[in-house]
């Protein structure tokens, strides 16, 4: 098994496009306005929807975030950090929205590593892990319907700080450093929360694969 990636943050094509658009907008190029909105709005909606729990709230957060960003675009000193900058704004709007909403997911606040550990069973010829056969899982492009709903529920059921970390790192592709900046955490705390969040999601999907019911 090789490591998934190195220490250096490599921008995805989409991030490169966003940075280029942000740079053009900073320079007053109005023709970058529409493609920038198109590139960012969907991401803001997805992050907010998973955080706030309601479509309407997520739509409002996406719009409020973009509005605030355009009102303060002259404050974006480094266009290469546009994603971190804009998700910090979105994060604050989400927090405000969550305080007012009765629909926002609000599970217990901490995840213990011990609860996320897989169990073993003695099958006569040694201990075996009691987990589903993940090799049978279709690849990402094939997931749909129930499986997709199970994944969404697993993420929504995470405590807020763990959910935010996972959404920014794994779904939005921010680096550990960028995620730490958005959430005002140290990089070590981001790594710890990300690991527990991933283990919790893995556990829920595992239960879904084994029994078709949530853990």
């Amino acid at each position: 098994m090789t490591s998934a990636r190195g220490d250096t943050k490599i921008m995805s094509n989409q991030q490169t496009v966003e940075v280029d658009l942000a740079r053009r907008l900073s320079g007053g190029d109005v023709s970058a306005f529409e493609p920038f909105v198109e590139a960012i709005r969907n991401k803001l909606f997805q992050y907010s929807f998973m955080t706030c729990g309601q479509r309407e709230d997520a739509e409002e957060v996406a719009q409020e975030t973009l509005l605030r960003a355009f009102q303060q675009f002259d404050q974006l000193r480094e266009p290469e950090h546009v994603r971190t900058w804009i998700f910090r704004i979105a994060r604050n709007f989400c927090l405000m929205k969550r305080r007012k909403s009765v629909f926002a997911p609000n599970p217990k606040q901490e995840l213990s590593l011990d609860e996320l550990r897989p169990s073993f069973r003695d099958h006569g010829n040694g201990l075996k892990l009691e987990i589903a056969d993940w090799k049978m899982l279709p690849d990402q492009k094939a997931i749909a319907g129930e499986m997709s709903a199970a994944l969404r529920d697993a993420i929504r059921e995470l405590p807020d700080l763990y959910r935010s970390t996972l959404l920014l790192r794994d779904m939005e592709g921010l680096s550990t450093k960028e995620t730490a900046e958005v959430l005002d955490l140290t990089e070590d705390v981001v790594k710890q929360r990300l690991h527990r969040a991933r283990l919790a999601v893995r556990q829920k999907i595992d239960a879904y694969l084994m029994k078709g019911v949530p853990a």
């Binding site: 306005f33 997520a58 739509e59 993940w134 090799k135």
Partner: protein
Amino acid sequence: MTLECDDVFAKLSEYLDGELPEAVCAKLQTHIEDCEPCVEFVESLRKSIELCKGKLPEEGPGPLTPGQKDDLLTAYRKTLENKP
């Protein structure tokens, strides 16, 4: 579960993200190669992370209304006007 398995369990995300020092990474890799439960567990977490990294289907905002678009464009133009 051995102490080495426990180590893999505790550091697996950093291992998969390539965020561990080389020596620690090599030590974990050596153990994983010889440990069937760890191979299984690593695969399950790796696939779970892949699922999260993919875009969830059926999730997107409604179309931007002309009013919303105007508000954003007006805000941007105002910022440009006020720029020193």
